[in-house]
């Protein structure tokens, strides 16, 4: 059975309570599918289900975490989400 690619954020989780400004680590796990090659990662911040701001892009393919300096200016709230996107190439095509 062929293996597909996937990425899953492990931190922050639903009980995270991060202070702004401060620095926290975003972590993730990945599964790389057959004939797939990871190119990089993109991290973004979402609030209330909508895009808020970029966190980082072009993160190394081998990385499994990113140290995020939470900027000041964010409002005090509990509906933030981190979005991760793993770009890859399909060598089998």
């Amino acid at each position: 059975m062929p293996v597909s690619s996937s990425v899953t954020i492990t931190s922050p989780n639903s009980v995270a309570n991060w202070e702004s400004p401060s620095t926290h680590t975003i972590t993730w796990t990945k599964q790389v599918g057959d004939d797939h090659t990871v190119l990089n990662f993109v991290l973004q911040l979402y609030k209330d289900g909508s895009y808020n701001s970029a966190i980082a892009s072009g993160i190394s393919a081998s990385a499994t975490s990113y140290s995020w300096s939470i900027p000041s200016g964010l409002s005090d709230d509990d509906d933030y989400q981190v979005y991760i996107k793993m770009n890859y190439s399909d060598d089998g095509e």
Partner: protein, 471 residues
């Protein structure tokens, strides 16, 4: 470009809220924290009218004041603070009605500041004030009826006490060491209560040497209670009372009002006869007789023989006014009553009976200074009772005796070697009392007359004599 993605669960981000956010009126802030908190914090705290103890912080100063005078890096403990704060700062603190722990301020406040800042409503711990306050400051404080502990008194001058204390002030005797007798006399009136343990700083003259530490004596008692009169004490008319002019009337509020109807037969007071009384009229509640000694005369006892009643003894240097109470006495019926007190020195002495509802009588009065010979009489002296008997013989030769009068007490006092001082004392006794009786205390009160006293010089300035007394 193919990709896969994921979205985390919702999580919280909170903004770094200053500490001020957590402060409420119920928060307690310790002083050690206070100076490291930012001005913003202070501003917050002050803005919500938080109730904070001023001794913690100096919070009565505005943020502006802190900002201008102190920086966040200042480390200032409160006990230190008073020393470096300028007078202007203190003045500022007071002006905002700060409740200020005076222990902080202490000795560095100038007297001028105290005088300026303190009001009746200020709370002043006297232990804070201490020795550096000038008398002027005390005077200021006292004027506001502030409560002073006498333990502070050592730095107060006696003149201050004399000037400021009233009967309502509380004075403990342990403070009395620098209070002189004059002050005690001023402060204490017969209505004051004083324990004997206080008396050590009072002059022996005032209390008499017969009072011991174990005695419990209210002051009101002391002027009238006779304690342990030494044997061989003479109470005679040292001031020549019997020859002085007299006025009759009454004393009210320290002033003498003449009224010849209130006392009759005043001559009988000094006639050496206890059986011929002077009468104080019961038509009025008070009646008195005033003796004009013609000059200030020292007196430390008053002896009365009467029919009962309340006697008040006053003195003044002015005939019509200024009479001060010297002592009081409640006299028994047909008995001598001796009252001793601290030495008074007035020209006019008044003996007033008070609370009269009917006529009252006094048989005799003696005032003067007590005389106790400086040495004890010699061995061979005698005290005896002589019966007055008449011996007869009947026609048949039988002898018999009849008692022809009351027995008399005889006192023979031999002195083989006395000083010129004691010689003069006995000569004065004879000069002042050769024609009248007086009191001699020996195991009781004896109303006696004295026989002529002769002196023999046995060596240069040494004399021998004998004194014969007879009731």
């Amino acid at each position: 470009m193919p990709f896969v993605d994921d979205l985390s669960p919702n999580f919280s981000i909170f903004v770094d809220v200053p500490e001020t956010k957590s402060f409420t009126q119920g928060d307690s802030i310790s002083v050690s924290e206070s100076f490291s908190k930012s001005v913003s914090t202070w501003k917050f705290v002050l803005s919500v009218a938080t109730s904070l103890s001023l001794i913690d912080s100096g919070l009565s100063r505005t943020v502006t004041d802190f900002r201008s005078n102190y920086t966040n890096s200042d480390s200032l403990t409160l006990t230190d603070s008073g020393l470096s704060r300028s007078t202007d700062t203190w003045r500022y603190i007071f002006s905002v009605s700060a409740g200020l722990g005076l222990t902080d301020s202490g000795l560095t406040r100038a007297t001028v500041e105290w005088r300026k800042e303190l009001t009746k409503s200020d709370s002043l711990g006297l232990t804070d004030s201490g020795l550096s306050k000038a008398i002027d400051t005390w005077r200021h404080i006292i004027n506001y009826n502030m409560s002073l502990a006498v333990s502070d008194s050592l730095s107060r001058a006696t003149p201050e006490w004399r000037k400021q204390l009233t009967k309502t002030d509380s004075v403990s005797v342990s403070d009395g060491l620098d209070v002189d007798v004059e002050t005690i006399i001023h402060i204490f009136s017969p209505s004051d209560s004083v324990t004997v343990s206080e008396s050590l700083s009072k002059a022996v003259q005032a209390w008499f040497h017969t009072i011991t530490l174990s005695d419990s004596l209210a002051v009101s008692d002391s002027l009238s209670v006779q304690i342990n009169i030494d044997n061989d004490t003479y109470f005679y008319d040292t001031g020549g009372l019997s020859s002085k002019s007299r006025l009759t009337g009454y004393i009210s509020s320290g002033s003498f009002v003449s009224d010849t109807t209130r006392v009759s037969n005043s001559d009988n007071l000094v006639d050496s006869n206890t059986n011929s009384p002077c009468t104080f009229s019961g038509s009025n509640s008070e009646a008195c007789i005033v003796f004009d000694m013609t000059a200030q005369t020292e007196v430390n006892y008053m002896a009365l023989y009467g029919s009962g009643g309340s006697i008040y003894f006053y003195g003044s240097n002015s005939q019509g006014s200024g009479y001060s109470l010297i002592g009081t006495a409640s006299i028994g019926v047909s008995e001598w009553n001796i009252n001793r007190f601290f030495t008074a020195n007035y020209r006019y002495y008044a003996i007033q009976m008070e609370g009269l509802s009917s006529n009252a009588t006094l048989g005799e009065v003696l005032i003067g200074k007590t005389f106790l010979p400086e040495i004890k009489y010699d061995l061979g002296s005698s005290s005896s009772v002589q019966a007055l008997l008449e011996s007869n013989e009947s026609y048949n030769g039988t002898e018999y005796v009849n008692q022809v009068g009351d027995a008399v007490n005889l006192y023979e006092r031999q002195y083989g070697n006395i000083s010129p001082t004691l010689k003069n004392d006995f000569e004065n006794l004879w000069i002042k009392s050769n024609d009248k009786k007086f009191l001699y205390y020996f195991d009781g009160i004896n109303y006696v007359s004295v026989s002529p006293i002769s002196m023999s010089e046995i060596a240069h300035n040494r004399y021998s004599t004998s004194v014969s007394l007879r009731t």
